[in-house]
């Protein structure tokens, strides 16, 4: 199950997000790291330093693309310029799969630059799946959709979030980037049992897993990616790994970013759960 058609039949281990603050460390010290995830939009440019650094990283490391503005769930056509630039980047990185979020964020060509929550309706699932297929066919690379953290729910929803996710990925025949921190954040904000979510996801479609930290406020939790992973999220990760197997795992840390070693060490804590899964498989 870990290597599947949704992640290009790869067996990636534990990676971290490639962030500018770590460029110098990575290029001069060349630390061991299974793979890096890049934010596609940061490199969908014509030239200059970001692309030169990316090329240097690509010479030595495995890189997977992760997007933040495809907005599969927006009720408008994909932006052609976005797709053209994304395809150029896919050719450059040779990413074995590509992910973006199960959300919306643009309306009538205006962008919010946020990951806005979907109404969980059959109409939305159908439209979103259609767009995922269109994007995948254009890019010619497997696509995985990521569940987002959310702070609002809609009256029009006709199913749970995990039912919606399964509906979309079945209709689109695409992969899942399962973000267990997002599941935790949303479970706290919407009062559901996060294990119900993890236990219901179409395990055979999981291409990758995200882990991250978040910030707790008095009445809600925000997905800020600026803290270590908390124990309840590791527990969800453990359960996810039991269901999906030894899957490519990525730690996101986007704000108040500590040293490379600190971020990488935090990510490597996932090994504890991955190795127990390997043992269980061996037994």
């Amino acid at each position: 199950m870990p290597a599947n058609r949704f992640n290009g039949f790869t067996e990636y281990g534990i990676g971290i997000g490639l962030r500018a603050t770590h460029y110098n460390h990575i290029l001069t010290r060349k630390p061991v790291c299974d793979w890096f995830e890049i934010i596609s939009e940061n490199f969908m440019i014509d030239g200059g330093r970001p692309l030169r650094i990316l090329d240097e990283i690509l010479e030595q490391y495995k890189v997977v693309q992760h997007g933040v503005s495809m907005y599969f769930g927006s009720a408008e056509k994909p932006n052609r310029e976005h797709l053209r630039r994304l395809k150029e980047l896919v050719k450059r990185t040779k990413t074995p799969w590509l992910s973006d979020h199960l959300c919306w964020g643009s309306v009538d060509g205006r962008y919010t630059h946020d990951l806005l929550p979907m109404p969980y309706t059959f109409e939305a699932a159908k439209l979103t799946a259609q767009k995922v297929r269109e994007v995948r066919d254009f890019l010619e690379v497997p696509v995985a959709v990521e569940n987002v953290s959310s702070y609002a729910e809609f009256h029009v929803s006709e199913m749970t979030e995990w039912e919606f996710l399964n509906e979309v990925v079945e209709q689109a025949d695409c992969g899942i980037l399962l973000d267990v921190n997002n599941i935790y954040v949303s479970s706290q904000n919407h009062s559901f049992n996060p294990l119900d979510y993890v236990n219901s996801v179409a395990a055979e479609r999981v291409a990758q897993i995200h882990i991250a930290g978040h910030s707790k406020y008095r009445k809600y939790i925000l997905d800020t990616h600026d803290h270590p992973v908390i124990d309840p999220v590791w527990k969800l990760y453990e359960r996810a790994i039991q269901r999906v197997g030894h899957t490519a795992t990525l730690l996101e840390w986007d704000d108040s970013i500590p040293s490379f070693e600190e971020v990488h060490d935090e990510a490597l804590k996932a090994n504890k759960f991955l190795s127990s899964t390997l043992l269980a498989t061996a037994v």
Partner: protein
């Protein structure tokens, strides 16, 4: 509510400016109560009302976009002051919401918007426009396309005055009324220092920044914003250099570009050939010509 309608309804609220206390407005788009507007499509929960849940997104939208403006236009912020810069940015983003998948392009319409709306910069309008132009040129030069540099063997010996030379796409040419290049470098130096600075140190630098802006007098400059080894530099050039390069960029042949440059030039006739030779040598060394 259908998907498209729901998304339009929510986006209108999310993109509506915050109050001065950085909260969501009580009035929804259209003038009705925002509480009623939000509860039409967002469920409340045991801790948050529909209004409060929508407000999270409204605040995130503005915090994210204003942060991006601050990051991209530190010089303009220094010119206008923090408060006026924030008010100006909000007005700009209401008139010119992002139409790009990347925040990199957020400030792309700022220069033209500032020209049309002089009230936001008040008496510093010309200075504000100049520094906004420079900061946008800096963004474009940073990640603009670089073509392979022109080699001597690429030049046709027969072309002569009809030769057409192509400039690197990342090269930006600016005619400015204020020497804002020095100001921007000063502002950036201050930002670099603040990472480890004490409060007192920061205060001294803030005063220095204000003084730097206050003493800036109009003085026309011509600037090439370019790239060397992936770093962006501002190079002051002479008026004639600016005219030649601009003409080449517009596709004019070399002979015509030089002719236009010296039409109203103060460079003595006997020095022109030497000057042109020197300029071309510099431009070629900097890799400004491409194939």
């Amino acid at each position: 509510m259908r998907l498209a309608a729901l998304q339009r309804t929510m986006a209108r609220a999310v993109m509506q400016p915050l109050t001065s206390a950085e909260r969501m407005q009580n009035r929804a788009p259209g003038g009705k109560s925002m509480g009623a507007y939000a509860s039409r499509f967002i469920k409340p929960n045991d801790r948050l009302t529909s209004f409060e849940r929508l407000e999270i997104y409204n605040r995130q939208y503005w915090f994210r976009l204003l942060s991006s403006m601050i990051e991209d236009f530190p010089g303009l912020r220094a010119v206008l002051g923090d408060k006026r810069f924030e008010t100006m940015s909000k007005a700009y983003l209401v008139d010119c919401p992002s139409r790009s998948f990347t925040l990199r392009n957020l400030g792309g319409r700022l220069e033209s918007w500032l020209r049309k709306h002089p009230k936001w910069a008040g008496p510093k309008q010309a200075l504000a426009v100049d520094i906004a132009r420079l900061e946008w040129a800096d963004i474009e030069a940073f990640d603009g396309k670089a073509e392979p540099a022109l080699r001597s063997e690429d030049l046709s010996s027969e072309a002569g005055a009809k030769l057409k030379l192509k400039l690197q796409p990342y090269l930006r040419l600016l005619e400015l009324r204020y020497p804002v290049d020095d100001l921007l470098l000063e502002v950036r130096k201050e930002y670099e220092d603040t990472d480890f600075a004490s409060n007192a140190f920061q205060e001294r630098h803030k005063r220095k920044r204000v003084q730097a802006v206050a003493k800036l007098k109009p003085a026309k400059i011509f600037l090439a914003v370019h790239r060397v080894d992936d770093s962006v530099y501002f190079r002051r050039i002479e008026r004639e250099e600016f005219v030649i390069l601009s003409a080449l960029r517009d596709g004019k042949p070399l002979g015509k570009a030089i002719e236009v440059a010296f039409r109203e030039s103060r460079v003595p006739a006997q020095e022109r050939a030497v000057s042109v030779q020197r300029w071309f040598q510099n431009w070629a060394t900097l890799g400004w010509f491409c194939r």
